[in-house]
């Protein structure tokens, strides 16, 4: 039962001790990803996607972060209880990450080759304690992965500094670095957002292909619904540190039930013309004084008194489609 999911998060709460008090960012996150599945995590800026991602990668520094959870397991193992050594072994080899902004994620004073070598070299050291790969092996693997991400003239690129490459090329290098050690799970943080739309498209297609070929499970984090629809199979909608809805992508787009999801979809302008897109009034809350109960209730047009009292839990409204909203629990109760 456990091994079915490569990532399983249950009831995750994350607080930060800050100057103004306590910032209660994640309020009970539920998320799971099956092996080989591509899952999206959608939400606006500031909703806690990055914090979730960092928690999973074990990158949260423990003061000032306080973490409480039922379960946060990667491939059956509790990530947050791992020792630094164990964590190091896992990073890059089991779980890997693609960063948002290729400009800043590559070290400007070292060549691509140097950085790529190190990523390969350290993984090897950790995995096979006896076999230290030779320089030639490392080099060959580097060239191979650069070819896979469709970079022309990999030999020359190895010797280049990040400054000398275009944004798209840098993103490909980052993908290469993430995939070279053959992880089973990949987190992609807003891939291609920093690039031109056409390049972003190429990159996403490349990513999709590479991931499918290798059977890697993916958590794709984005604020862009279109991207999520194109690249993932199932998605979670997140608002202010709470999961509000989750379903397979097509289902989600055809039948969004949570008011926030509906608002999100309505705010995407349609290329075919028609009505002007509406935004959702209000702003993401201040986490030091977060709204009680369902955190969306201040901005929700359908809010009821119970919404501010208690946080709704995820209930199923059709197979594989869950929503956290009292509108539907009541209905369900009514139907029963």
């Amino acid at each position: 039962m456990e091994d079915r999911h490569i990532l399983d998060i249950q009831d995750l709460h994350v607080y930060f001790r800050v100057y103004e008090g306590v910032s209660y960012v994640l309020d009970g996150i539920y998320l799971h990803i099956a092996r080989g599945e591509r899952v999206g995590l959608v939400g606006e800026t500031g909703c806690g996607k990055t914090v979730t991602m960092k928690t999973v990668m074990g990158m949260l520094k423990s003061p000032p972060a306080i973490i409480r959870y039922d379960k946060v397991s990667l491939d059956g193992q509790d990530i947050l209880k791992m020792s630094p050594k164990e964590l190091l072994r896992v990073k890059g080899t089991k779980i890997s990450m693609i960063f948002q902004d290729p400009m800043n994620a590559l070290n400007p004073v070292f060549t691509v080759g140097e950085q790529l070598y190190d990523v390969i070299r350290f993984a090897q050291k950790r995995l096979d304690n006896e076999k230290n790969p030779s320089q030639k092996e490392i080099h060959d693997r580097g060239i191979a992965i650069l070819k896979e991400v469709r970079l022309p003239d990999p030999e020359r690129i190895m010797g280049n500094y990040p400054l000398e490459l275009s944004g798209g090329m840098r993103q490909r290098v980052l993908i290469a670095m993430a995939l070279v050690n053959e992880p089973s799970f990949l987190i992609a943080d807003e891939p291609g957002t920093a690039l031109d739309v056409t390049i972003q498209d190429q990159i996403l297609n490349l990513l999709k292909e590479l991931v499918e070929n290798r059977g890697i499970s993916v958590l794709l984090i984005s604020h862009n619904l279109g991207v999520v629809r194109e690249t993932t199979e199932r998605a979670y909608i997140m608002y202010a540190g709470q999961i509000v809805e989750t379903a397979p992508v097509d289902l989600l787009f055809e039948n969004p039930v949570h008011p926030y999801t509906q608002g999100l979809l309505a705010s995407v302008p349609s290329l075919t013309g028609g009505e002007i897109a509406e935004g959702i009034p209000g702003m993401v809350p201040d986490y030091t004084v977060a709204p009680s109960g369902c955190r969306f209730h201040p901005r929700c047009t359908h809010s009821m008194s119970i919404c501010s009292e208690k946080k709704p839990s995820l209930t199923m409204i059709e197979p594989d489609h869950y929503v956290a909203c009292y509108l539907y629990t009541e209905q369900k109760e009514q139907n029963e």
Partner: protein, 330 residues
């Protein structure tokens, strides 16, 4: 390069101050008992009665022939004096800079990595003290504690009275004795240089620690360090390799300034330790108003800066490809 112009400007400035001011150098050289005639004679010989710009011109052209004029004290060409005393100061300053790099940089790095811990606070205090204590005080306290008190290090000089000087390949006793294989001499020279070089280095250590710390803190918060960690590169490497290199530029630019303070400190420390270097020679020249010697020292010091700053600029371009590549474009 216009730094040559700066040097020229400097020489003019000092020359004017030296020559135009009250006090007749000739009289000073001859002493209060010389007769008016003798003073006049020497004045004429020194060219004092010629117009000022001409004097300057004579002096400068003389320099290019290696003639720095005569020192009033030693009665020989200042060039010889400088050549004689310069190596000692060079050795002192070089060892001091080694101290600065070896102590200052790691201190700054560790301080940044363990920011706000007790270690960081201790190191910051050390850095502050380093900058605030006058070098001659460091020297004196050092003498007090280590020489008189614990007897570990000798008080003055470059070598013990009985130790023979090593053959002069470079003039730097440490190197020369190693080259010649005279290890006992090396040990003696080392013992003599430790205290004074440390006194010279204190200010620099303080400066470098602070700036390395600042620069490193900046770099450690950058995304590419987080990325490296996410790819599984261990901490030791992210700190000492990936974070250190980018943080090197501010300390490097400071290195030029640090060299300035080291040389400056040498003037004070050489006096405390009776170190027979150019700085001590310069101080004596100043006290005895030996203008030619003063000019010589000033010019050499100025030249040293031009050279050092040039080297620092080159190094900066080498370490940080961003600078190198930008210059290629522009």
């Amino acid at each position: 390069m216009y730094s040559i112009l700066v040097l020229v400007g400097l020489s003019i400035l000092i020359f004017i101050i030296a020559r135009m001011l009250p006090g007749n150098p000739a009289r000073l050289a001859l002493g209060p008992f010389a007769s008016g005639e003798q003073v006049e004679h020497l004045s004429h010989k020194m060219g004092m009665d010629k117009p000022l710009p001409l004097q300057y011109w004579t002096y400068i052209t003389g320099i290019f022939h290696g003639d720095f004029s005569l020192s009033f004290q030693t009665r020989r060409n200042v060039r010889l004096d400088i050549a004689h005393y310069l190596p000692a100061t060079l050795e002192l300053v070089i060892v001091a800079i080694l101290w600065v790099l070896v102590i200052g940089v790691p201190l700054g790095v560790l301080s940044a990595r363990y920011k706000d811990s007790w270690l960081d606070n201790v190191m910051r205090v050390i850095a502050f003290i380093g900058v605030a204590v006058p070098p001659f005080v460091v020297g004196l306290i050092g003498q007090f504690v280590f020489s008189y008190g614990l007897g570990i290090f000798p008080t003055t000089g470059r070598l013990g009275l009985l130790t023979p000087k090593p053959p002069s390949y470079t003039g730097l006793f440490l190197l020369d004795s190693l080259i010649a294989g005279e290890f006992s001499v090396f040990k003696d020279a080392l013992q003599h240089i430790i205290l004074p070089s440390f006194a010279v280095a204190m200010t620099g250590i303080g400066q470098i620690t602070r700036i390395t710390r600042g620069s490193m803190i900046d770099v450690l918060s950058k995304d590419y360090i987080e990325a490296a960690e996410a790819f599984g590169i261990p901490n030791r490497y992210t700190t000492f390799k990936y974070a250190l290199k980018p943080s090197f530029i501010p300390p490097l630019t400071i290195l030029g300034l640090t060299f300035a303070s080291q040389l400056s400190n040498a003037f004070l420390v050489e006096t405390v330790f009776a170190w027979p270097g150019m700085a001590k020679y310069g101080v004596r020249a100043i006290l005895r108003k030996d203008f030619n010697a003063v000019m010589g020292v000033v010019l050499i010091v100025g030249l040293a800066f031009v050279v050092v700053n040039f080297i620092v600029d080159m190094l900066a371009g080498y370490v940080d490809p961003r600078i190198r590549l930008k210059e290629g474009e522009g």
